[in-house]
Amino acid sequence: MAVTIEWYIALSTILFTLGALGVLLRRNAIIIFMSVELMLNSANLLLVAFAHHLGDATGQVLVFFVMTVAAAEVAVGLALIVAIFQSKKSIDIGDVNLLRG
């Protein structure tokens, strides 16, 4: 049973759905953060899979950029979470509702 492109699409869809549900449903900021990474990497997986399938290196190059941006995002995001924790003593996003109208 050969591993075709459909398999990769299915796996990346499952991963993205898991990440999206994690972002929407979990309340722990770090978990949400990890779910965001999951969605990013599902997108990366799909890029690599299609690059290989189409024999075009553009997708693989784009993955490097995504990983770089994701690393920077993690640095900023974790810093924010630390700052929120220092003031709120909690990383539950239910406690962070200063913008409620």
Binding site: L99, R100, G101
Partner: protein, 783 residues
């Protein structure tokens, strides 16, 4: 020698005087009375005297331009092409206005000098001379104006000055209990009636003749007269009127104007009260110049009056306008003469005498004797100014005597306060103008006495004084003309002449003869030379003024009645033929009829023939010996009767009755006239019966209808109601509701949106996903 370019100086000089005394003179007098009075008074006199010199130059310039009327245009005034209404601010010089100029400025200058002495010590010295110069300014406009409108400017101006000067001592009561301010108002109101008629007359004149200039009016009037019945009737829009009817209306309105200014029945009531003003004013304005404006007006309009006479139109079928003028004058002459009998105030006698003499002049111009009227105007200016200033001198002397007495009283009773108080009270009662307090003044005031007698003789018409010639000329006119109404006028004027001699004798006897009847008269003294010099000068004029127009003493050769009607008199400038005849036939004396020849160039005499209007030479006045003798007998008789029969009872005490009053029948008449019948008729008939009830009605209209109903109910209440509607209904519900409603609805909408802003990151993330999903769905399915 054409000096008409100097004419504007006639107006400029008095104006300079006005400004000097308003601005500088007042301060000079306030700073240092003796020197300030000299500056103020003499400056005004210099202006008046310079105007006199200009008048003399103009007088002598007229022969050099062949007596043609000269117009000096100063500037344009009205210019309305749509109605063809053009009026220039222009001066008009012909022999008539030159004559008036000389009288006004000449007598005016003498009175200025006199006034410096008379007004000495008055706190408003400079104000007096301001008014006097202002009067001169307006009087010169009046006599030199080239149109009826210019004349009217002067006419109103002198009325204003008259008002200001009658009320000059507005804070002092007058002798007879009427306040000076009231007297001034009375004069003003009475004159307004005449002025109203003047405005009507001018409007009609413009409507008919399309111009207000004398020359144009006369020319057009003669032309229309020439056309006679062929001329189209004058249209007034809704109706038309015949030429002679309209002209009668114009002339009758001029007559009413003249009755106001020249104090004739029925409007003369203001003039006697006008004597409340300072005596120089009485002499200048209310005797010599202003009150003669009516005579000047009628003389100026002589062509209009003569046309009315020629057309024979009679108002209401009874009387023609010129005859009415003569009748009004003659009645006034007698009526005022009778009132003059009953007066005790030295100036009031002269005031009624003035009214009476103005009646003579008006009667003269009404009879067509314009030259005689002007002649009497001139001589009257001389002797009436003289008499008024003489009376001023008497009053001054009496006041002086009274002050002397008062000072003496203080010295004698210095310790006795009760007596002092009594003296003060007595001073308030003393009237220096009451002839009953005088007597025996001839010894105290010899100069005044002398000139006063001369003036009285001139006024009474005693040969050879000025009044004799002028009054005789009027009486002669009344006698020689064939019209029936002239006999009536002749009789009235003869009675008037009798009255004149009678009341003047009474006055002289009361003032100058007998024993002094008051301590003040005992101590009276002669006035200073500033006051007596002009008197002497005027006395000379009163003696010799009559020779201005001495009549021919016999009928000249070649001057038959046929000459007058046949000789054509083509151009008004070409008088050589007539003058040759006059020179040949008339007396060789240059004085003979000098004024007649002089005024001939201004006063046209004409007749309507088949060839049209023909200018005629004046019929020369021949001395009517019967008239002269009759009037002399009457005048001398009146003097003798008064002196030896009626007033032999003088001197009398102030509380005594007048001998006339004591007489059985005459006393009733005397009392009637002393009650000033026309004045009381105005008061009881007009003021109390009509004017005050009308006042009530007008008050009713003004207060109850106009104020309470219109203002309070209609205007104010409507306003308040509508304002309430706006402030209590429209504003809170409408305007506020709209503004607040917008705000409220926005707020509610925003409150609804608020609930979506939860602050929950999860919600925002969900929104983000849904949004992304929607975008993707759009691209996948729609694009």
């Amino acid at each position: 020698m054409n000096l008409f370019g100097l004419a504007p100086l006639l107006l400029i000089l008095p104006l300079i005087g006005v400004f000097f005394n308003t601005v500088v003179g007042r301060r000079l007098v306030a700073a240092d009375a003796p020197s300030g009075e000299k500056w103020s008074g003499w400056f005004a006199t210099a202006m008046s005297g310079s105007a006199f010199i200009v008048a003399v130059l103009i007088f002598f310039s007229l022969p050099t331009v062949d007596y043609h009327a000269q117009t000096v245009v100063l500037w344009d005034w009205f210019n309305m092409p749509s109605t063809d209404f053009h009026v220039q601010w222009a001066m008009y010089f012909d022999t008539l206005s030159a004559t008036m100029l000389l009288v006004v400025t000449g007598v005016g200058s003498l009175i200025h000098i006199y006034a410096i002495g008379y007004m000495h010590g008055d706190k408003d010295f400079a104000r007096f001379f301001t008014y006097l110069n202002l009067f001169l300014f307006f009087m010169l406009i009046l006599v030199t104006g080239n149109s009826y409108l210019m004349l009217f400017v002067g006419w109103e101006g002198v009325g204003l000055c008259s008002f200001l000067l009658i009320g000059f001592w507005y804070d002092k009561p007058n002798g007879v209990g009427i306040l000076n301010g009231d007297a001034a108002r009375k004069a003003f109101v009475a004159n307004r009636v005449g002025d109203f008629a003047m405005i009507m007359a001018m409007s009609l004149t413009f409507w008919v003749f399309k111009t207000l200039e004398f020359e144009g009016v006369i020319e057009t009037a003669l032309h229309m007269f020439e056309e006679g019945g062929k001329a189209a009737p004058i249209s007034f829009g809704m109706f038309t009127a015949e030429f002679q009817v309209v002209l009668s209306a114009i002339t009758v309105l001029f007559l009413i104007g003249a009755t106001g200014k020249s104090a004739q029945i029925p409007l003369f009531i203001w003039l006697p009260d006008a004597m409340a003003g300072p005596t120089p004013v009485s002499a200048l304005i209310h005797a010599a110049t202003m009150v003669t404006s009516g005579i000047y007006l009628i003389t100026r309009s002589n062509v209009l009056f003569e046309i009315v006479r020629e057309t024979g139109f009679q108002m209401a079928g009874i009387i023609s306008v010129p005859d009415l003028v003569a009748v009004v004058g003659a009645c006034t002459a007698v009526y005022a003469g009778l009132i003059a009998f009953t007066q005790f105030d030295v100036k009031k006698v002269l005031a009624y005498s003035t009214v009476s003499q103005l009646g003579f002049m008006i009667a003269a111009v009404g009879m067509g004797a314009y030259v005689a009227g002007m002649f009497h105007l001139i001589t009257h200016a001389f002797f009436k100014a003289l008499l008024f200033m003489g009376s001023g001198s008497i009053i001054h002397g009496m006041e002086h005597g009274h002050h002397h007495l008062h000072d003496h009283g203080h010295g004698g009773h210095g310790d006795d306060h009760h007596d002092d108080h009594h003296d003060d009270h007595h001073e308030d009662d003393f009237d220096p103008q009451d002839m009953r307090t005088m007597g025996g003044l001839w010894k105290k005031m010899p100069v005044t006495f002398g000139v006063y007698v001369i003036g009285s003789l001139a006024l009474a018409g005693i040969f050879p004084f000025a009044g004799f010639w002028s009054k005789d000329e009027i009486l002669a006119h009344a006698q020689v003309n064939e019209f029936a109404i002239f006999s009536f006028i002749n009789i009235m004027l003869t009675i008037g002449a009798f009255c004149t001699a009678f009341y003047m004798t009474r006055q002289i006897k009361m003032v100058f003869f007998g024993e002094p009847r008051h301590e003040a008269a005992v101590h009276a003294s002669e006035s200073n030379r500033l006051m007596t010099r002009p008197l002497v000068f005027l006395a000379v004029l009163s003696v010799f003024g009559g020779f201005l127009n001495t009549p021919n003493f016999s009928e000249p050769e070649g001057y038959g009645s046929d000459y007058a009607s046949e000789e054509k008199y083509e151009e008004s400038g070409d008088h050589s033929e007539t003058e040759a005849i006059l020179a040949a036939g008339g007396s060789k004396t240059t004085f003979t009829l000098a004024l007649e020849h002089w005024l001939e160039h201004s006063i046209q005499s004409f007749e309507l023939t088949e060839e049209g209007v023909v200018h005629m030479p004046h019929t020369p006045i021949v001395l009517q010996y019967n008239v002269a003798v009759t009037s002399s007998i009457i005048a001398i008789g009146a003097i003798l009767i008064a002196w030896f029969l009626v007033f032999r009872g003088y001197p009398m005490k102030p509380e005594d009755d007048d001998p006339l009053q004591a007489a059985p029948v005459i006393g009733t008449v005397w009392a009637f006239f002393q009650g000033l019948p026309l004045d009381s008729l105005y008061m009881n008939g007009w003021v109390k019966r009509v004017f005050l009830p009308l006042g009530e009605i007008s008050n009713l209209i003004d207060w109850d209808f106009w104020h309470n109903f219109v203002h309070e109910r209609l205007i104010r209440d409507t306003f308040v109601t509508s304002a309430d509607f706006f402030s209590k209904v429209l504003d809170p519900l409408g305007v506020d509701g709209a503004v607040n409603g917008v705000g409220k609805s926005l707020r509610n909408f925003a409150n609804g949106l608020r609930s979506t802003q939860t602050g929950n990151v999860g919600n925002y993330a969900l929104g983000l996903f849904l949004g992304v999903a929607a975008v993707i769905a759009y691209f996948v399915f729609a694009a």
